[in-house]
Amino acid sequence: MSTVAERPAWTVDPPYGDPGYRSTAKRAPHRPLVPMAPELAPTTGPVFGEGYADPEDADLTAGHAGEPIGQRINVSGRILGSDGRPLAGQLVEIWQCNAAGRYAHQGDQHPAPLDPNFTGAGRCLTDAEGRYRFRTIRPGAYPWRNHPNAWRPAHIHFSVFGRAFTERLVTQMYFPGDPLIPFDPVLRSIRDPKAQERLVSAFDWDSTEEEFALGFAFDVVVGGHLATPPDPA
């Protein structure tokens, strides 16, 4: 029976336990994970069609009495398989804090203002080329209590399902040039610097709208756990 150990080991994901990220201490498993044999793994996953995301769900600046405070941005990109195929009809869910760095969540009580015109959750379905597009405002950095004077770089949470249960991915998108990035234990939990860089979006003229919004591009690739690693440079 083949096992994970016999397959190409190209681990881009962070380990469960990471001393730099304090919340892992009581939540990361201590026992070794049991390798899932490929022939026993599920080959299907949920499919979400129309009815799960309306066009207005992709505009996080809408749906309230007024406009949210902050820099308007368009965030767009493609959801792809590691084989390069675009994933059409994918449900993409995002959520984020507001421009002041405050989440619309009762657990976030740090002294930054809530914005009555911003909730910060959106979703959409990818088109035939695997493209998604959201309009939102640029999220702020926010403090957390992981270590003294800890601040998370600005980020947007992403959730995609892929083509099968094995491809389910929740991740975070960061912004280019953010000075907090080198100090973030969550991003640095990813050991491969090149893999870290793949979570940083790119400024994008194509989706930048004149006198209206800046554009950022961010592609998501799923299914790479079975990928063959590149030759070491």
Binding site: M1, V4, P14, H30, R31, R168, Q172, K194, L199, V221
Partner: protein, 165 residues
């Protein structure tokens, strides 16, 4: 299949996902509840045995998807269907993902059914776990009204078996 693109790494779901993920919680997917639906309840517990009140639990068994967000006691609840036996001599089971603050990637576990003792005995994945006491963490216990109870212990005594992929 040759691969061309490096994968996007995982990051934690964080503590503040409720307002973004709750819309799909408790919703039957597909919409029509299929025959044989049963309720799964359980708790997500940390290494101290304390409830995890900020976990997201998702279930997939081949045709029915469910999402549940844990409450202050770490409890989740979803409706699923016991699937027919899967390929490769596998006993009926439900794939389960757990996301939470403090989990840099999801945890993947499986729920097997308590009334399938013979099939569970022959299941290749339960067998691959080795230690029967550990494999038992994957088998739910009977609950009320034909449902089952499936607790997920992230760490420590009685730690649930999780899978590497």
């Amino acid at each position: 299949m040759s691969t061309t693109l490096p994968p996007t790494p995982s990051q934690t779901i964080g503590p503040f996902f409720r307002f973004g993920m709750e819309w799909l919680s408790g919703r039957a997917i597909p919409e029509a509840e299929p025959p044989g639906a049963l309720t799964v309840t359980g708790r997500v517990l940390d290494g101290d045995g304390e409830p995890v009140p900020d976990a997201l639990v998702e279930a997939w068994q081949g045709s029915v998807f469910a999402r549940s967000l844990t409450d202050a006691e770490g409890r989740f609840r979803f409706v699923t269907v016991k699937p027919t036996p899967a390929a490769g001599g596998q006993a009926p089971h439900v794939e389960v993902s757990v996301f939470a603050r403090g989990l840099l990637q999801r945890l993947w576990t499986r729920l097997y059914f308590p009334d399938e003792a013979a099939a569970n005995e022959a299941d290749p994945l339960l067998g691959a776990v080795g230690d029967p006491a550990r494999a038992a963490t994957l088998v739910a216990v009977p609950g009320e009204d034909g449902g089952v109870v499936f607790d997920v212990r992230l760490q420590g005594e009685g730690e649930t078996v999780f899978f590497a992929w």
